[in-house]
Symmetry: C2
Subunit: 466 residues, 2 copies
Amino acid sequence: MAHEAAISEISALIGNRLATSKADKDQHGQNETYYPVTPPDAVAYPETTEEIAAIVRICNRHKCPIVAYGAASSLEGQHLATEGGISLDLNRMNQVLAVNAEDLNVVVQPGITRKGLNEELRATGLFFSVDPGADASIGGMTATRASGTTAVRYGTMRENVLALEAVMADGSIIRTGSQARKSSTGYDLTHLLVGSEGTLGIITEITLRLHGIPESISAATCRFPSVEDAVNCVILTIQSGLPMARIELLDEMMVKGFKAYSKADLPEVPHLFLEFHGSPSTVAEQTEAFGEIAREFGAEGWETASSTEERNALWAMRHNSHYASAALGEGGHIWPTDVCVPISQLAEAVLQAQQDAVRLGLTSTIVGHVGDGNFHAGLSVDPNNPEEMARAEHFTKALAETALRLGGTISGEHGIGLGKQGMMEAEHGTALPFMRAIKTAFDPNNILNPGKMLPPEIANAEANAA
Amino acid sequence: MAHEAAISEISALIGNRLATSKADKDQHGQNETYYPVTPPDAVAYPETTEEIAAIVRICNRHKCPIVAYGAASSLEGQHLATEGGISLDLNRMNQVLAVNAEDLNVVVQPGITRKGLNEELRATGLFFSVDPGADASIGGMTATRASGTTAVRYGTMRENVLALEAVMADGSIIRTGSQARKSSTGYDLTHLLVGSEGTLGIITEITLRLHGIPESISAATCRFPSVEDAVNCVILTIQSGLPMARIELLDEMMVKGFKAYSKADLPEVPHLFLEFHGSPSTVAEQTEAFGEIAREFGAEGWETASSTEERNALWAMRHNSHYASAALGEGGHIWPTDVCVPISQLAEAVLQAQQDAVRLGLTSTIVGHVGDGNFHAGLSVDPNNPEEMARAEHFTKALAETALRLGGTISGEHGIGLGKQGMMEAEHGTALPFMRAIKTAFDPNNILNPGKMLPPEIANAEANAA
């Protein structure tokens, strides 16, 4: 067995909470997209930060990889132990540690999910806003710098994480940030850990900003003659400064997927799904202002979802876009993509993506948090069809190049993980060595989620020797 | 002359834009607070990023310190060349490079000031929101993670910097972030550089978020029976989720200072200065909602400043608080302090600060961006009175301890610089070695603003040898 010494020491530490059964390992090797099942050598179920620190110290001594595991909903394989070692399952650390309602924040353990957290907050009149489609764990959302439908109004994890506790590669436990809303003291380690995909430290506690549940919430849908009209409506809405709570694009293929998967009763044309938050009068003002803009771009079929049940059904349908996209293809797997561009470039990026999909003969939906300039082309693929997989890879590269050409980024919210390392150099260029320098300084033995995010260095030494 | 070799090479590079006259050096050794004049060995006036890269490469080769210099308005001596070397004056790099109005951002050089930038934006209907009291340079505001009166609504530099270009210690030029509103690709070097006080890189270009000028703006002042009442009004306002654009506390001493310095016609009791942004109807809604809360806490004397001129006069007075505080004392210098606490702890922190000032016999104003939980006690000091300076230091330490005890931070917006290094360990503890590791990895020769922010390491080796 690989990493036997480390596994045996961890077993001595936490007893039967270190599992090596095939079932445990296989479960922790699954993923939501197209990566093959990749089991770790063992699964550890820690219950405290101190236990995690002790486990990480053991791993560091034995140079044994360790990968945090939450809801396994990441879309670029971030939670897979591709170099073996320990899958650190944080689901037993799923408590709300403190609800500081008067300071509009909450302190949680990493294993709690966003829906679980909002259940716990129900009586407070406050909510946690970030909502990727999946019921992801807060630890995973922090590590991936997740966002979702409400980021346009309330920000992503970048804006909603106030403070962290983390276990570093040497086993030290650090705290970053504070309960204060701002600070100018030292390097911003909070933001360095947010989005680091488990490669710099294991996040063990998160302080999150909360928001008051708006007095009035109204959701709506409307349809457009073309994707271009829908996107231009979004651009003008954002440029007008309308504080949209949600503004989501679905192209005709995505609507087709919803009809197949969620039995949605929608015409197969591009739609926007919308939500307005505020006082009754401001919601009315916003709705009217949006309606005026939408009519300029030929919007029709305005449907309001005012009751909580109708709204929940609408967003549940939207959040199932991953599975609805899969329902369209033969292969049953989704190759997700995820670019974000300046809002002014959104129409060009979306239209280019649609054309590329047609050109490459791929079945693709377009769905997106378009108020942020962020959208996904969801490609239906069969991982057993290498020729189709090659076309999907080609599409992804072309889409990334489009995003960079238009001043954007190769990932708005899914992160890099395994799938996008090949494009890190194109996006970051001369900044990449400074990312590597941080990784080396923080984790000299490369035990924390090795093989993720940072592309392998071109082996200059070998090249020179050859 | 110290660092002669480096200075001579830089002189060969940029000719008479390398100055060594006493006048140049003395000017660059000035500061707004109590630090002694600290001239550099030479002043360089670069005009391009490439020139800065060449200068930094020379400095790195000769281990010559280099300190960025903008408006010199920093309050903790961040711009002083305390270890000699080069003061890098960025005032010739003060251009707006691109106004991307449709994407609500602007790209600027570091030497432009916030007022200069807003002048340039005047025709666009957009504004840059962050406003520390001084007309600081954008480069300096980025490096110090500055905020100010509008942060409660629009965020600090942390939320308003989208992307950067920077020259690193090895002379490489990196770009961080993009024009997209969000990204999940790699370590967040943008936020690492924001607030790094020139110790990790020289910021040479900044992409800033812009906001639409609100349709309606209304400012107001009101007075309270006590500081406690005023603060409790703020706490309830923030907890109610009212989107205040500005909410500033002034205690009775601060009002006295304004009367002395700005000939303000205000009764000498605690005040709040307020601003509301939105549509005419939302501003009316917010004003009414705030008024109801304020009356609960005994607010009186509501005065509205609706015209642009009245509003400008009000905020100009507020922004002169530094000089107004100085006007109260004999010494003419201000020892600034700057803590930030969770909003629920604000009353306790402010009252403790007032008591400490009385106990230590110090003349102190209290003024603050209280919607963020951030406030300043401005101590009038005479730098030639060592006994008074010792009491000021004692006060500052006690205030920092109060902030940390209440879950806050030792600096909300001024930063660490020279003045607060002694409290970094108390705030960051086990995280401090990771900050040092970043500094060492990025700047192994310690040329970038050496002696700032990170406290000197206790010389273990020496201690062991002794």
